[in-house]
Amino acid sequence: EPEVTQTPSHQVTQMGQEVILRCVPISNHLYFYWYRQILGQKVEFLVSFYNNEISEKSEIFDDQFSVERPDGSNFTLKIRSTKLEDSAMYFCASNFLNTEAFFGQGTRLTVV
């Protein structure tokens, strides 16, 4: 069964460092997303990506965040200068047109 794959599963980084979270969406999907979940809180939308550009982003997705689809399979989220409050689970998701989104298992980001 096709699935969304995320790497790494856990990343520890120092405050101010750059991190890149990686995702391989399901191969025939057209829309790609990043969500985050701070411990004990709701899953929050960050950004959606379609046709090689951002289609929507939330207020959380400020200038320190960027996304990229560097090739035909990978989808990345870059955080330029991490803050303590960026510590969270980050989920990648993908879907086809007007269908349910499938989520990866997440990357736990810990900023120290």
């Binding site: 057209l30 969500y35 899953v43 959606s48 929507e56 939330s58 007007n98 349910e100 989520f103 997440g106």
Partner: protein, 113 residues
């Protein structure tokens, strides 16, 4: 503002004790309402999509229903393996056919043998 509220926050059941989880929503034109299951430390796992009031979907011991203001997830004769957090999310109509999901805070279900 689009919003999703789930209740209760936590629910403890005995094995075989049926119950319902509630998801109330306000959205500027509903495209779809989604139920997901989330196990600790894992990503949300898709369960159901509902598109219009009156629609029902079933899968094993779970049944989801939808009205114009809320959705229910009914669990019939639950087993310990049904223990998880159940997330409700809505997708609003808009120009973007993909569509972000707006999640509720979830209901943490615990089923004791």
């Amino acid at each position: 503002e689009d919003q999703v509220t789930q209740s209760p926050e936590a629910l403890r059941l005995q094995e075989g004790e049926s119950s319902s989880l509630n998801c109330s929503y306000t959205v500027s034109g509903l495209r779809g309402l989604f139920w997901y299951r989330q196990d600790p430390g894992k990503g949300p796992e898709f369960l159901f999509t509902l598109y219009s009031a009156g629609e029902e979907k079933e899968k094993e011991r779970l049944k989801a229903t939808l009205t114009k203001k809320e959705s229910f997830l009914h669990i019939t004769a639950p087993k310990p393996e049904d223990s998880a957090t159940y997330l409700c999310a809505v997708q609003a109509r808009g120009y973007n056919q993909g569509g972000k999901l707006i999640f509720g805070q979830g209901t943490e279900l615990s089923v004791k043998p």
